[in-house]
Amino acid sequence: MNPSNPPQAAEYGGDEVSAIVLDPGYSTTRAGFAGEDAPKSLIPTYYGKYNADGQEKLVFGDDVFVTPRPGLSIHNPIGKDGIVEDWDMAERVWEHSFTSRLTGTKAGNPFQNGLNDVSPDELPTEMEVESEEKPLSDSPLLMTEPGWNPAKAREKTIEIAMEKWDTPAFYLARSGVLAAFASGKASALVIDIGASNLSVTPIHDGMILKRGVQHSPLGGEYISSQIRAIFKANTPQPITITPHYLISSKSAVEAGQPAQAKYKTFPADKAPDASYRALLEERTLSEFKECVVQVWPGPTRLSAPSATGVSNEDMARTTPGRPFEFPDGYNQVFGVDRFRAVESLFDAKAAIPDPDSSFPPPTPAQTIPELVKASLAGVDVDLRPHLLANVVVTGGSSLLYGFTDRLNHELMQMFPGPRVRVTAPGNTSERRFGSWIGGSILASLGTFHQMWISKKEYEEHGPNIVEKRCK
């Protein structure tokens, strides 16, 4: 081996290059190598923007949470409906998700990296003009997308992958199909609750039945807005969430007593934008959802009288509450309110009104039972019983305590005839990363090579090839 020739890429690691799987969500973006059990890179899809020295700077990944820089504002390239709005920034965020932890930056020329002593006369006389290094030149890329992603957005996605990242092979998979497959089913009704959307996707023989795809904004962030409404009306006192960055010290207080904390204050010209605070408040709300919030188990709605004549709400009052401590030390036991926060996912009338919320009050058509009804109405009558017998639950917000039990009750009441069966992976990571894991398995199969759209095919047919090949 001639030491003056830089080694070939394959000689660095010796390993076969594996494909990268990218599962871009509204709240988080998941990326990792195909064949692994969980995505190695999990970053917020939110990014930060601020000005320093008269220049606009951007912050990606977990760094957005860390420093409350003056004027730091938080943005999201994906719209509330789960479809990309800002393509330039979506590209930057997605690129960060794999370059930060998976592919790394490209190795430079060893003659010029300062680690090798090379006398000037040994330098190659003709420097090859390297074309600009692109981040995925060696890795096939499988991406996921929501079932309602429009054709334009799909074409734009393959364009970025092929032209900006230079991936040699690409595939775009519907996340609903991946979730159904991961449960062993080629036909299923997939109910996915993510951060910004609640969706119902009927799948038959591995294909999405487009006319039956339904979605509404009643996802994780909507639930957060309901919790905020509860906090506002809370007794003994309204609760404000003060994120950690605004607290310099706190001391323990009795439950329900005002917080005893020293707060940090920022002068107006040093303070981050309100969107930064909102993002950090959302983290406390996520914790609250995991520890406190519970779905009323049913079989009847929270507002309904139970069989004994006592209302369900009164029944809920008698169950033991759950304590929660806020970053400023305020703590309280939450009783019936912890059921009320999510009841409107099933019963629009149960929504807690809040004139300040960015979410308009939900309509009955946006609730889970109505979305399922509308979804089934959009598919062939003969398929409906098969779909109801194969309901697959996925998405991070579906981990709310008691969610699948209630869903089961609601569906059985609505469809008393056919057999209803709800499947949900018991394992948290499979529920949160269901589509990523499905994509990881497929892209790692040796036989999957025939599915990939190659660079050559893309160049020959243009971005529209994604419509033909990724159905």
Binding site: A173, R174, V177, L178, A180, F181, A182, S183, G184, K185, A186, S187, D205, G206, M207, H386, N390, T423, P425, E430, I437, G438, I441, L442, L445, G446, T447, F448, H449, Q450, M451, R469, C470, K471
Partner: protein, 148 residues
């Protein structure tokens, strides 16, 4: 083309199926599996026993090389009688992915199902993840379109 694993169907699968459909009920079923190398679908067994329960038990007891429950595909020749119309028979395609199956194999079986079903050209199919999903009455109802 819908999303698929790319796992190939071995020619034997098709030949065995042709023999099966020409046997006019002598062969009752074929069980298929995906080979351990995850590259192709192969014939696991061919059964002639006329007792449906023999088939059902064989399918439900399928194990992988380490002795754990494992998924399979099958085709079964369902014979039934319609009042006034006489004997009928219909081939039904069954995908069997028990709920304890590891995600890896669930994914591979689900994403190969359509390719096999289309290669065999069987229209009627059911999916089962529990032994109660493949009771005779369920299979009969599906095969006869609810008439028997």
């Amino acid at each position: 083309m819908s999303l698929a694993s790319g796992v190939q169907i071995q020619d034997d699968c098709i030949t065995a199926f042709q023999d099966f459909s020409r046997s006019h009920g002598k062969t009752k079923y074929i069980i298929y599996k995906i080979a351990d190398d995850k590259k192709s679908v192969v014939v696991d067994s061919v059964g002639k026993d006329q007792d449906y329960e023999v088939f059902r038990n064989e399918l439900a007891d399928a194990k992988d090389s380490q002795g754990r429950v494992a998924p399979r595909y099958a085709v079964y020749d369902v014979e039934y009688e319609l009042p006034g119309e006489g004997k009928r028979s219909k081939i039904i395609f069954i995908s069997w992915v028990p709920s304890e199956t590891p995600t890896l194999w669930s994914m591979i079986y689900a994403s190969t199902r359509e390719v096999l079903k289309n290669a065999l050209n069987v229209v009627t199919s059911i999916h089962a993840d529990d032994k109660s999903d493949i009771e005779w009455k369920t299979v009969l109802k599906e095969a006869s379109g609810g008439k028997a």
